[in-house]
Homo-oligomer: 209 residues x 2
Amino acid sequence: MESSSTTPGGSARREATRQKLYEAAVTLIAEQGFSATTVDEIAERAGVAKGTVYYNFASKSVLFEELLRHGVGLLTASLREAAERTAGEGRGKVDALDAMIRAGLVFIDRYPAFTQLYVAELWRTNRAWNSTLLVVRQQAVAVVEGVLHEGVATGELSEEIDVPLTAAALVGMVLVAALDWKSFQPERTLDDVHAALSRLLQGRVSGRP
Amino acid sequence: MESSSTTPGGSARREATRQKLYEAAVTLIAEQGFSATTVDEIAERAGVAKGTVYYNFASKSVLFEELLRHGVGLLTASLREAAERTAGEGRGKVDALDAMIRAGLVFIDRYPAFTQLYVAELWRTNRAWNSTLLVVRQQAVAVVEGVLHEGVATGELSEEIDVPLTAAALVGMVLVAALDWKSFQPERTLDDVHAALSRLLQGRVSGRP
DNA sequence: TTCTTTGAACTGACTGGTCAGTGCAAAAGT
DNA sequence: ACTTTTGCACTGACCAGTCAGTTCAAAGAA
């Protein structure tokens, strides 16, 4: 059922080639942007002939779209897993949000290039892969919104919060803090960054009495 | 001896042309990205011949760099003004942060395309204007960091907060929430969005007892 | 006032290079 | 047998940047 539209019966070899191409493309596009990255570069970095790129993907844009789907799929699964894990442990929704923040940080730590590329493309309009992007964004944000809704329902979160906006704000908080971490203070530990964001989430910014 | 990059003695006419080029470039690049936007497009949208672009700017990249400097200059001024205004009114640092959040929203409301373009480029490496971007980013973030530092000094904010990370997280919160607002729920009012972010800043997310 | 000069500002056709995508025969892998 | 990859030559569109020539407002000359 799963597996994307254009991956009907990928042999193991083919799948390995695709993976190499994803990895090559993601770093190059993160650094330079989609248009500034050439297919020749991608092929070279992947250690593959140019013809192979076109044997495996219909076009440069399609390669990129599938890359987006693939990456956001990983992120969504990771967020969902974090939310469900804390739920299973019978902890509150704020803990679930905190766990999702951590999951987000772990993801960005592992795939910084993908994150960068995703942010760079997310608010662009007029591009070929725009509809793909919308779908894929909704998948990820929906997980956060879901937890917020549940929190409001159980009374753990204020009824007055604006779910979509708060979800976006939380995602932004994690995204930007993490990208800053990776770009400008890579020596910091994940725990460090997580602690700072937890504090913000739980309103422990003001000084104690 | 060209007139150097920083526009020392631009005539009124020249300045008007530059302004038109900025406006044309900012929307096109926000929509399509830098590399996907052609100089011909920029010239056409500005109602100017291609040669004029090169008469006014040394290259496409230089046009873009000056655009970045120009835009971030406006933002920084606006943030600083908000911080100083609340300080003058003798209010606390949390109020100053809140005022800066609003100033950020007002800016994004007025210049959504610039914001979009800025976010898309901010974490890219290996690009010509990278050093410009670093400088310009630091200017803006420094204003937020300054207020956080003052808040810690006066005891109004916890000593345990991590100033650079918290500043980045706050910026991210505003940036992403605002871009989402503009892209996906443009019917919302600024006050609405501001209220949601205020709540998050002040830890009023958990339900009341 | 009316004419002339000056140079900054602007124009757009043109050039040289780049790049996505193609085609295909031979090789390698399964 | 068949799928997949290779290597490489080729094309056609597209695009950053150039440059010889044009416009025009304003300063000065008559």
